[in-house]
Symmetry: C2
Subunit: 226 residues, 2 copies
DNA sequence: TACGACAGGATTGGATCCAATCCAAGGGCC
DNA sequence: GGCCCTTGGATTGGATCCAATCCTGTCGTA
């Protein structure tokens, strides 16, 4: 392979279908395609500069991830959750994230812990909901990032993705007290991780998710939208 | 393709890609495609009487389920697990199946309980490994069958599917004592369910899975096969 | 006016065709 | 003899084309 073989159609980083799937995932996360909105193959194909074949493969993958709902001969829609279904996702997270944290915690680096602390502080300081959501996601994902897992990490990320569209809505509904408690929990988790208290960190994350679940169960109006 | 296309219409119910995905899933479960074996698109297409397009969609879906591993421009293989990865799946099941059972248990019908008892008894009686695996899967899936869940039920089924190829191998390695304990646990679960003791049933299934995980961790030779 | 049949367009599903990539075997060169 | 390059076949990836299905608006009739 000569050094001049630059073969630089750089844009294509992996297959088209993976790229399209990642793009749709991202667009949904950013609220570009809200829950219940229709996904037309041709529109997506044009947007990502591909034909409909890789788009269809991407939609199949996203369906298996739970992000998209396919109906034969009808089309694809961004999955919409009822309150009960969202609670189910949170119940599941309540079980899985402590386990994932257990895998990750022992391998977190000092710089990770510093970053976690900075994120927790930044979250407490910001008033912008979008910024808060971004920081919150980074905080939790960073805490899991050192887990060497086959599927558990991906699984948790998927659960986050399916509920992401609703997070914004109910985050705004949290009162000052609730928000303060959330921030305390974040800081508690950093402390536990610094002390190498994995079990304490696990309990904290479990309580954190449970509290969030209860918060959203008090706000069914977020899901009623037709 | 002959001019008079008399090929049996292969009972096309639903899309081709769903059918193909289900078929591959089934073939893997039955050991027809062992872990690590390659899946050629054309061969699968011919087998299911479809073109390669729906096959590729099916493979994408199965990849998202964790059953198949895709490598760009190289091909698809049945996912192969290391011992550590298999333990991870069991750890995950340990957390999720009690939760799923909690959703299902209150809605189990008397006839379900009778069937569960019959299955537990039949399992204790049989000496055929294939038969045992079939009964075992039916037992557990039946215990979850009344759960009205969005994704938790599917998720657990997927975890079963990814480890199914290994179950046969280590089941044969269980000694008489271990086997007796497993049967006791099955019967205990039926009793707990009959008494409406959901928490007891949860504890039993958790212990059952943990015990199985420990059993397989003592038999790394099942996974070493290159 | 209400309701059902129907036609047209729009959209999805599937098959075939072509391009890009990979793998293995064989030949040339040091 | 060993190593690198090339070349052919095999396989995957993507695009275009065609068929099947669905949705919608319109017309006709009771």
């Amino acid at each position: 392979m000569s050094a001049t073989d630059v073969t630089a159609p750089v844009a294509r980083d992996g297959n088209a279908s993976s790229r399209v799937a990642a793009g749709i995932r991202d667009a949904i996360a950013h609220g570009e395609y809200p829950p219940g909105s229709r996904l037309r193959q041709e529109e997506i194909a044009e947007r990502f500069g591909a034909s409909r074949v890789p788009v269809r493969e991407a939609l199949r993958a996203l369906e298996a991830e739970g992000l998209v709902t396919l109906v034969a001969n009808a089309g694809a829609w961004v999955s919409r959750l009822t309150l009960a279904e969202c609670e189910e996702v949170y119940q599941t997270r309540e079980r899985l994230e402590p386990l994932l944290l257990r895998h990750s915690a022992p391998h977190l680096l000092p710089e990770d812990l510093d970053r976690l602390e900075a994120l927790a502080t930044a979250m407490a300081a910001t008033d912008d909901v979008g910024e808060f959501l971004r920081l919150d996601r980074e905080f939790h994902m960073l805490s899991y990032s050192r887990a060497d897992t086959l599927m558990l990490g991906d699984l948790v990320e998927r659960l986050w993705n399916t509920t992401q569209p609703y997070r914004r809505a109910y985050t705004m509904l949290a009162d000052a007290d609730t928000r303060r408690i959330m921030h305390d929990e974040h800081h508690l988790m950093v402390v536990a991780l610094r002390e190498g208290d994995v079990e304490g960190a696990e309990r904290t994350i479990e309580g954190h998710i449970r509290r969030t679940r209860r918060l959203l169960s008090r706000h069914p109006e977020v899901f009623s939208a037709e």
